[in-house]
């Protein structure tokens, strides 16, 4: 199992002149440490207008900064909103190629379509169309990365023949992922040979079912790219502390803050009746699952909070249902002081990661970073 970081970059009010700068700097410091500790990847979302919840509209810039201060950690550009009003496909192909070059071939490409009216309405995008344009974009991107000359006449966009440059460093192209929030999207991922980038916490039973379905379908997929990226990733919170009760207490504060923030957003379905968004998407799942029943400690099932033993136990369960990677949210609204976040990362790397790594990988983690 591989571990990564997952950034929404939430910024608490009141917003002073340097509040956002401080939050971004904290995130970069965490990424630098995570790289040293042997974390495998760092993901950053693309969100717009989601005040406090996510001030991360240009993840490619944040990830470029991450790449410049790290050596090994892979950078996950996600979720690129594959809706023409947000991103032109040519620009996606170009900027991802540049990021892959600058990061030395460390790019992962996550794709999605946005789930809030706050964003869709802000760009005047039609919620009915987003699934269709996402599908069109993900079929185009690999060809734009790999073909010297490219032209396209499609449903939502077109271009005459041009040479799209530069090309990604990774050959044939970076791995592709789909953000999975709504039920059934893991099938979309599997049918297209893409990684399943889970953004809901979900229970073990639900995840077990999803992973089995995904693995079965991807065996007979028609990959959109030049290769099949069979991988299942989930998102989780992380707060690791020597004292279990303290770890659970702060972890619950983190999850509670994040979920409370998420609930303030306007889900596409709440504002705009459409079959394109059959569920409320990410937000209710986050709330429900991260506040779901746990044991007597009060720690919700499956959430990586508490002491290293508890976290190892919970992550082993995820591993047992076929999850390949877990990406962690480390903070929300800076609820957890930066020094505690860094200490949590170090302790996790030292005490938890070795239980999931091959011998070769364990060296960096055991060193505990600087």
């Amino acid at each position: 199992m591989k571990f990564g970081l997952f950034y929404e970059i939430s910024v608490p009010r009141p917003w002073g002149p340097d509040t956002e700068k401080v939050v971004y700097d904290n995130c970069l410091e965490q990424v630098r440490l995570a790289d040293e500790l042997g974390f495998d990847n760092v993901w950053a979302v693309e969100h717009h207008f989601l005040e406090e919840y996510s001030h991360c509209p240009a993840p490619e810039l944040f990830l470029t900064a991450c790449a410049m201060i790290t050596k090994r950690i892979r950078v996950g550009h996600g979720i690129i909103v594959c809706v023409p009003e947000f991103n032109h496909p040519i620009k996606i192909a170009e900027r991802t190629a540049v990021l892959d070059l600058l990061s030395g071939g460390r790019l992962e490409v996550g794709t999605g379509r946005s789930a809030t009216w706050t964003e869709l309405g802000g760009f005047r995008a039609n919620p009915d169309e987003t699934k269709k344009t996402w599908d069109e974009f993900v079929h185009c991107l690999p060809k734009m990365w790999t073909q010297e000359r490219y032209s396209y006449q499609g449903r939502s966009w077109s271009m005459p023949q041009r040479t799209i440059v530069p090309k990604p460093l990774q050959k044939p192209h970076p791995p592709m992922w789909v953000a999975v929030t709504s039920p059934g999207t893991e099938i979309d991922a599997a049918e297209r040979g893409m990684g399943s980038l889970g953004l809901t916490f979900g229970g073990f039973a639900e995840q077990d079912e999803k992973v089995k379905r995904y693995r079965k379908i991807i065996r007979n997929c028609e990959p959109v790219g030049s290769f099949v990226n069979e991988a299942v990733s989930t998102v989780n919170f992380l707060y690791c502390h020597e004292d279990d009760a303290e770890g659970v207490k702060i972890g619950k504060r983190l999850t509670g803050t994040f979920n409370y923030l998420a609930a303030q957003l306007l889900a596409a379905r709440e504002a705009y009746p459409t079959k394109s968004y059959p569920s409320l998407g990410l937000l209710p799942s986050l709330r429900h699952d991260a506040a779901g029943p746990g044991d007597e400690s009060g720690a919700p099932e499956g959430i990586a909070m508490g002491n290293p033993a508890r976290i190892t136990r919970e992550l082993k369960k995820w591993e047992s249902v076929g999850v390949d990677r877990v990406n962690f949210l480390l903070n929300a609204l800076e609820t957890v002081p930066q020094e505690k976040v860094l200490a949590s990362l170090r302790l996790f790397a030292k005490e938890v990661m070795p239980h999931f790594q091959s011998k070769g990988d364990a060296a960096a983690a055991a060193a505990g970073g600087r």
Binding site: W117, Y260, Q264, L265, L266, A271, P273, T274, K275, R287
Partner: protein, 251 residues
């Protein structure tokens, strides 16, 4: 926690509050109710003055304009129209009802005394045409609300999500102001959507001047459903955030 809370002037809005006769009402099913609902974004910052401190504003702020006709009820057929401001009580989407207009005195009495609807008298109509659905309120001889769903298009009832309402009411038992949560259930038999058009919205008639400023239109829906006005389950202290001031009164 998000520090943005509503800052409704309770003293002013207390004038519109109905008197509710306790919180132990039973369900009421309104069969074949026809419901027009318009969603329209509103100016964010002034809209904070249109929801009580119990609630957080939605991001972005939006108004819900709802016109409903009940062809049958224990007090006879009636129509009701209201403007709500969407927000959150804690983590739950809720709409604070500014004012509800209704032409039937019996219905006004029933809905205010049992569910705390902030009632005002007015003639409410809901008219179907081939190309549009029109909802209208005339109060004191003046049109205070006229809204339309244009370009009707069939959808599934499962695609519609109505959010629960919050009514500012005065409890007859102790005279205190209270926010009453009313979360009807719906069994849809027909649903449509279309473009929203607001012809007239007299903000003052809904107690919302000068804070209610219409911005970006979102969507209109029209549905036929059996609507169940529920037993009351939660009440809130209008002066406290929902996380601190909510009382569960029934399962």
């Amino acid at each position: 926690m998000p520090p943005r809370f509503g800052n409704l002037d309770l003293k002013t809005f207390a004038n519109f509050a109905s008197t509710i006769g306790g919180f132990k009402t039973s369900e009421l099913v309104l069969k074949g109710a026809r419901i027009l609902e318009i969603h329209n974004e509103i100016d964010d910052d002034p809209a904070d003055a249109l929801i009580p401190r119990t609630m957080h504003p939605a991001i972005p702020a939006y108004a819900i304009i709802n016109v409903m006709h009940a062809p049958e009820s224990p007090v006879g057929p009636f129509s009701i129209a209201e403007v709500r401001i969407a927000g959150r009580t804690g983590v739950r989407p809720r709409g604070f009802v500014l004012r509800s207009y209704c032409g039937s005195e019996a219905a006004r009495k029933e809905l205010s005394s049992r569910w705390g609807f902030p009632m005002a008298p007015g003639e409410v109509s809901l008219t179907l045409r081939h190309d549009r659905v029109v909802g209208k309120v005339v109060a004191g001889g003046v049109t205070v609300l006229e809204v339309e769903l244009v370009d009707r298009d069939a959808i599934s009832g499962a695609d519609i999500q109505y959010i629960a309402s919050m009514h500012l009411a005065r409890n007859s038992e102790d005279g205190k102001l209270v926010l009453v949560q009313v979360d009807p259930e719906y069994t849809f038999s027909k649903a449509e959507r279309g473009k929203p058009r607001i012809v007239t919205l007299d903000a003052a008639a809904f107690g919302a001047a000068p804070h209610l400023r219409l911005m970006n239109p979102i969507m209109a829906s029209y549905a036929t459903a059996d609507m169940t006005l529920p037993r009351l389950r939660y009440i809130c202290n209008p002066e406290l955030p929902a996380m601190q001031g909510t009382t569960k009164i029934a399962a």
